[in-house]
Amino acid sequence: MFRSAPGTTSRGRGLLAAASALTTPLLPEDFLTLVDPLWSTTSLRGRVVARRRETGRAVSVTIEPGWAWAGHRAGQYLGVDVDGVRFTRSYSLTSPEGAEHLTVTVQEVDGGAVSPTLVRDLPIGTIVELEQAAGEFTLPDPLPEKLLFVTAGSGITPVMGMLRTLDRAGTMPDVVLVHGARMPEDTIFRAELAGLAARHPSLRVVLRHSAVSGRLDPAVIDTVVADRADRTVYACGPDGLLDALEGAWDGVVAERFTPPARATEGTGGTVDLGGGDVVVEPGQSILEAGEAAGKLMPSGCRMGICFGCVLPLREGKVRDLRTGEAHGEPGDLVQTCINSSCGPARIDLP
């Protein structure tokens, strides 16, 4: 998990193996990265090279990726140290595919552990840990003739990555974007969206402001987009909106941004996590409890979507915090980010 080296050629690997005889028990790169942390081939790192304030609560961070970067399509995890402790969160990439630098746009979450740091206090030059891009919420290939994007709040970010990609490639199909934000000044990328629409006649941007004209719902969108039924629909935003869209229309491709409400009943207990006992509080996920205990846990979206956090259950059962359902047999891979324990359990670490 920590020693994968994508993007290294087999000849490069041979050289590194030879050099490691000189650096054992460390790796050659442990010395190389004294010069520049981005020269790592085993951990993907990036350097913050620019920050741009998008709204009062959102900032775009431009990152120069290190040697191990394998390029991206969509979905990106980012690790950042907050008061000395490494946190990882997934943020959608907003930079176009193929761009030299990558950009994530982060909106501050009240009481969040990571987003306030990213938005307020991430000096240029900071080294951040990255994971290779992953995620299914990507532009279809081949492109459909007619697309409808429905987004709300920071749900615009993955769609912005797609629009920039289309813009850069000069292949903007017939696209309608319906985007909801609370107020005009909360609308991330407002000016850029207007610019894109002006440049591409085939792109229509509809902005709605919930504080002015109410929340987005399928009926409202149907009145704004007359040929909605002919369009492939991509939606990203809060659960309520996505549930409504999926309930009203068929074939919606949705990406959820807000973690669902959590069950607490019957959850919690002591888990043997990789050979050490960790107390999981009721309503707390195994991932959160493990991280709080200093364990190195694989993680990803932290809301049960990406399966980047799965670990093998060896004993006991776990309880899904979304449904309250107890499940799990020895050997099952469980998503630690949305499961709590229910009573004692044992889980292996990678």
């Binding site: 920590f2 005889a21 000189l22 650096t23 054992t24 028990p25 460390l26 442990d30 010395f31 004294l34 951990s43 140290d81 008061d83 000395g84 402790v85 490494r86 946190f87 990789g274 991280e291 200093g294 364990k295 190195l296 670490l349």
Partner: protein, 393 residues
Amino acid sequence: MTAVLENPAHLEPGPEETGREQHPQRPVLELVPSSRREDVQATTELTAEQIEELGRRLDAIRDRVLAERGASDAEYIRGVIRKQRALEIGGRALLFAGVLPPAWIAGTAMLSIAKILENMEIGHNVMHGQWDWMRDPKIHSSTWEWDNVSSSAEWKHSHNYMHHTYTNVVGKDRDVGYGILRLSEEQRWTPYYLGNPLYNFLLSLFFEYGVALHDLEVEKVVAGQKPLSRVWEQVKSIGRKTGRQILKDYVAFPALAGPFFLPVLAGNVTANLVRNVWSHAVIFCGHFPTGAVQFTEEQLEDESRGEWYVRQLLGSANLDGGRFFHLMTGQLSFQIEHHLFPDLPSNRYAEIAPEVRELCREYGLEYTTGPLWKQYMQVLGTINRLALPNGKR
């Protein structure tokens, strides 16, 4: 014999109260015959309540440090790691010019310091999980491997678990003598122990191998208490690490130096020896100078958290010195604080040491400390004395 515990000054009982039978509470820790009984003055007539109170006060120190841990601590360990690696590169580079004596001396010194820092302030402390809270996969107890022939996995068991749980318990803590030396009167004398001073000298030269063999628990193998398959696994692991170190220090780097093969080889051998002798001295001074107490297995039964703390306190000894000295010992010069709180970041021991010392004074427990040379002389004295059957003064 029953060791005598001085009562805390403010709790001074009347003469009629000092007798054990008159004491309202069972004396909880009955401190034991150490290798030098007459020097053990700190033993305890503390009541169970007092011991638990002491435990709570130590817990409070721990909780405070945990709450304060943050970016500056993270920067500390990252800084030490950066400096250590720079020293290692610099030392090895200078050794390539090692035909010139000043370059050889400077290079060897730098490499020795790098190896000491790597083993003590970085390796030992990272493998204790002191930096796990940072969740940095590069500086984590589950991923760290050190420049030593004992693998991190084996060492974490024998050191973190066995030694730190059973500190100074004769028969349980294998650091008492490393299965080689006689360091306690409780260890039955045999003629083998006439070689105590010689074994200690050899152990200090080849300390990293001693540590690796220590993991192997040879005496358990001899007694048939340990399956041979497990032994073979360990031997292979020691072999792999030994092979890698020999290849690196004694073959690859000297070969890279071409015609200067010998100076580089000599520098690397010296650095490994210096590191071994230094770590041996520091580690032996942590538990065996005069004043550090040893315990029996019976005392482990039903041990409370407070009693555990008292055993760690009394079984350990500190070393006096300046900041650089503390860094070079991996802060094991704060052995007492380290044993009380083995997983707190090492850079915090210096700051809590005065508080621990004050607590010891208040509860009348001996806080053993002294300069390295003095403590080491005491350790050598004990080793020499215990080479003989009764070894009493």
